[in-house]
């Protein structure tokens, strides 16, 4: 039984946006100034939190800290086989925000150690042939079970200050195969926060990954593999010699912001090339959702969030394939914003600032949007039980973190969905 740290009553009162170990001048009064605006939703949530704390459902024992973990993208796609071509390697980025509870909570970016591990998915080298081909694909031999950024399937996160007020482990080489051989596109990472050698907070967050890709729906010439079929057609259409050069890293020619690959001048980006060339060909695939011909979906369901539950599909936010493949669009950077739909419905709310993606945006005193709402494509409540575990753990029910006492030791008078 670990000792549970108690709140130090001698600690000075600190504003909510103050990060431990870093001064934040000019913000001390902001929380108090906004406190007069009451949100019925938050009051109700606070009452619900009090009721819950009264014993209807067990919550985490008292601790001074809470931690929220999330995957950067909500789903990471990767190749299963790397012997012929590579679109994406195993590269999963997990982040966490650590909050010290209080009357006015503080976001913690130093003085703690944040560890991660993925029980039940502890090795990848026997699940994919990626490490056999890192030399021809990337020009460097990477040790087995080590990702492109040097991280493994367990380790320590680094804080991202001053870029962001959270912690990150990038490029985890996790695969959608559990150690027992069964498919699992939603492995659970255990994230532990330690201070002075003692664990002060833990959570579980999904590290989603899938290699479900259905190129074979169309690329299925008898007698040759799917990968070879793709490369052969590329050679015919574009006068290349890719089939003779396997394995091929597509981003060596097609720029890819996901990989930081500049590509070759004059050649379309990977996204523009793929989406653009296939946009007019999807009828032959005969799919309900065209995106799932390539993106994990028919089985895995990349999109598994509240939007799906409400009847929305990929194109509801992203537009059709032609829109996604527009050469003027910056792939991975020009993405849908929550405010584009929700601002008109909740005019009193702030949403992401222009030019800031949902996954990077903050509000409510520096809290990341994803901390309360979860990852893109897995906005809670999700249709998958594992993605709801974190919110249920902290507040007793799935969905957006709307129980204020998750972080506040006493219910605040109001809640504002505002940018800082």
């Amino acid at each position: 039984m670990r000792d549970i740290p108690q709140i130090d009553p001698t600690m000075p009162h600190q504003p909510s946006v103050l990060q431990e170990g870093m001064p934040a001048p000019g913000r001390k009064r902001r929380w108090v100034r906004r406190g007069v605006f009451a949100s019925a939703g938050c009051v109700a949530a606070a009452l619900a939190g009090i009721l819950l704390l009264g014993g209807i459902a067990p919550l985490a024992p008292p601790s001074s800290y809470v931690v929220f973990g999330y995957n950067e993208l909500g789903m990471h796609c990767m190749n299963e086989d790397f012997s012929e071509l590579m679109i994406l390697p195993p590269f999963n980025t997990v982040r966490a925000q650590v909050i010290r509870k209080g009357v006015e909570p503080t976001i913690v970016t130093s003085g703690v150690t944040v560890r991660y591990t993925i029980p039940g998915n502890t090795h990848s080298s026997d699940k994919t042939n990626f490490w056999n081909y890192t030399q021809p694909l990337f020009g460097v031999q990477i040790p087995p079970d080590v990702g492109l950024t040097g991280n493994k399937l367990n380790g320590t996160m680094v804080n991202r200050m001053p870029t962001a007020n959270d912690w990150e482990a990038s490029g985890l080489p996790v695969t959608p195969r559990d150690d027992d051989g069964r498919e699992n596109p939603y492995p659970l990472a255990l994230i532990s926060v330690e201070r002075n050698g003692a664990v002060v907070a833990q959570t579980q967050a999904v590290v989603p990954v899938s290699w479900e890709i259905s190129c074979n729906i169309c690329h299925s010439t008898p007698g040759i593999s799917v990968g070879r079929d793709i490369l052969r057609k590329h050679d015919v259409l574009h006068a290349t010699h890719l089939e003779a050069a396997m394995p091929v890293n597509c981003s060596q020619c097609h720029s890819d912001n996901a990989l930081g690959a500049p590509g070759v001048p004059g050649v379309k980006s990977m996204s523009a090339a793929m989406h653009g060339s296939h946009a007019t060909r999807m009828a032959q695939a005969n799919l309900v959702v065209d995106c799932y011909a390539c993106h994990p979906g028919i089985r895995t369901q990349c999109q598994r969030d509240i939007h799906l539950a409400r009847g929305m599909t990929c194109s509801s936010c992203h537009g059709g394939m032609a829109a996604v493949g527009n050469v003027a669009r910056r792939p991975w950077l020009d993405e849908p914003s929550c405010g584009s739909c929700h601002q008109s419905r909740q005019p009193e709310f702030d949403f992401e600032p222009a030019g800031v993606l949902f996954k990077n945006a903050t509000g409510h005193g520096g809290v990341k949007c994803v901390t309360c709402h979860n990852s893109p494509h897995a906005i809670t409540p999700t249709i998958t039980a594992v993605d709801n575990l974190q919110s249920t753990r902290w507040q007793g029910h799935a969905g957006v973190i709307n129980t204020c006492t998750t972080c506040h030791t006493t219910p605040p008078g109001s809640f504002e969905h505002k940018r800082d």
């Binding site: 670990r2 549970i4 067990p58 080298s125 498919e183 369901q301």
Partner: protein
């Protein structure tokens, strides 16, 4: 006896002049698909039988993963509930298949066992291994509410015993949160792994009764640094899996632990890895072992067979046409459950059937095999038990001659 012995030696002298050389030791049986191209793997097979039952999972046209059984032809094992994924892991002495049904994104899973045409649920756990008396090893989801864990979900190794039906949580070791069991032998010994002390890695574990024992790593036992997990065990108590070494702590190698009745490791061996070229990484995992001590697994992306003290690339032991990626189980008839890809890179589950003429599994049916057979015969070594009767007898000589002269595989 003397006359018979002289006769055997005479036969050996004769055969030495008519040696048959062949490049392969196994022939490949393609188990097929469930109608679609996609992920597939063969995980287990029955202990004996000319045509053993092989089980695993394959992809259906609707993209679902479904458990299959192959007894000469591949069949889907229908799940108890529709729209679920399933995988079959093992077969017991009665031919009953154990496996797991699950839905992507759910917490936990449901174990099943077949009994003839009937599929019965065993409970809310993942069933992974079974012994001849029907004990099932696996893991179940538990919710920790104590301490700071509070409502975190973890796997705990468990064992299901059938008479009366009980499901026992085997717990973890070293204060870790999670554990998994992968196999159980006929003495009821369970093997698997548990998280390390701060859950940053894993430790190989053998459970004897309800007590879990850390098997240690190449760096020492029981508290040697590094990571490990045990995936299989035979009835001699040898456990196999992987662990990391002291000199190269980040790399996993196939391991074999000899464990006594008290759970103490008396010896641990690094089974090595297949050779690589061009500076590629090297690693290996052992997944299966039979009662003779032959071990199968995967090394550097290729299936291996560890037998007679050497690790061999299975792809060197089969005819052209398939690339075998991973071997998951080997039974007492030396048949191997595996998966590989054909010449158009399509994955299929495979059954590898040995050519018994190549008794030393060096890829050749040659004069050396004759001498190795004779050596095993006179040593009363069960490697000479060609008819799998459990004893070495004169009949085995005639059976071996039949295999030898049947030519290459």
């Amino acid at each position: 006896m003397v006359r018979r012995t002289n006769g055997i030696l005479a036969a050996a002298a004769c055969m030495s002049m008519t040696g048959v050389a062949s490049a392969q030791t196994y022939h490949v049986v393609d188990l097929g698909t469930l109608g679609a191209l996609g992920d597939t793997e063969a995980f287990g097979l029955s202990r004996v039988g000319v045509t053993p039952i092989v089980v695993g999972f394959a992809t259906k046209p609707d993209h679902a993963h479904r458990a299959f059984l192959s007894n000469g032809a591949i069949h889907e094992i229908s799940p108890l509930a529709p729209d679920t994924q399933s995988v079959a892991y093992a077969v017991d002495a009665l031919g009953r298949v154990v496996g797991t049904m699950y839905q992507l994104g759910e917490v936990g899973a449901r174990a099943f066992r077949t009994g003839g045409a009937v599929l019965a649920g065993l409970g809310n756990f993942t069933a992974h291994g079974v012994n001849d008396i029907g004990d099932v090893a696996g893991f179940m989801s538990i919710t920790e509410t104590a301490g700071l864990a509070g409502e975190l979900v973890f796997d705990h190794a468990c064992v299901y015993r059938g008479n009366p039906a009980t499901l026992s949580d085997l717990g973890t070791i070293g204060g870790s949160h999670w554990s998994r069991a992968y196999a159980v032998n006929n003495a009821g010994r369970v093997v698997g792994c548990s998280g390390s002390a701060n859950d940053t890695g894993s430790r190989a574990v053998v459970w004897i009764g309800s007590a879990g024992h850390d098997l240690g790593t190449f760096a020492g036992t029981p508290s040697g640094a590094g990571e490990a997990c045990a995936y299989a065990t035979n009835d001699d108590g040898i456990a196999v899996g992987y662990c990391t070494g002291a000199s190269d702590p980040g790399v996993r190698y196939a391991a074999a632990w000899w464990v006594n009745g008290s759970g103490q490791v008396t010896s641990v061996s690094n089974l090595g890895a297949l050779p690589v070229t061009g500076g590629k990484p090297t690693w290996s995992y052992a997944y299966g072992i039979n009662d003779r001590g032959a071990v199968v697994g995967q090394s550097n992306g290729r299936a291996f067979l560890f037998d007679y003290g050497r690790m061999k690339d299975v792809n060197d032991l089969i005819p052209p046409g398939w690339f075998v990626v991973s071997a998951r189980a080997i039974n007492d008839s030396d048949r191997i459950a595996a998966w590989g890809v054909n010449q158009t890179n399509e994955p299929h589950p495979l059954l590898l059937v040995p050519c018994f003429g190549d008794i030393n599994r060096d890829g050749l049916v040659s004069v050396q095999d004759i001498f190795d057979f004779l050596a095993a015969y006179f040593a009363n070594d069960l490697r000479a038990d060609m008819d799998r009767s459990g004893t070495v007898s004169v009949q085995d000589i005639f059976d071996y001659l039949g295999y030898y002269f049947s030519g290459p595989c």
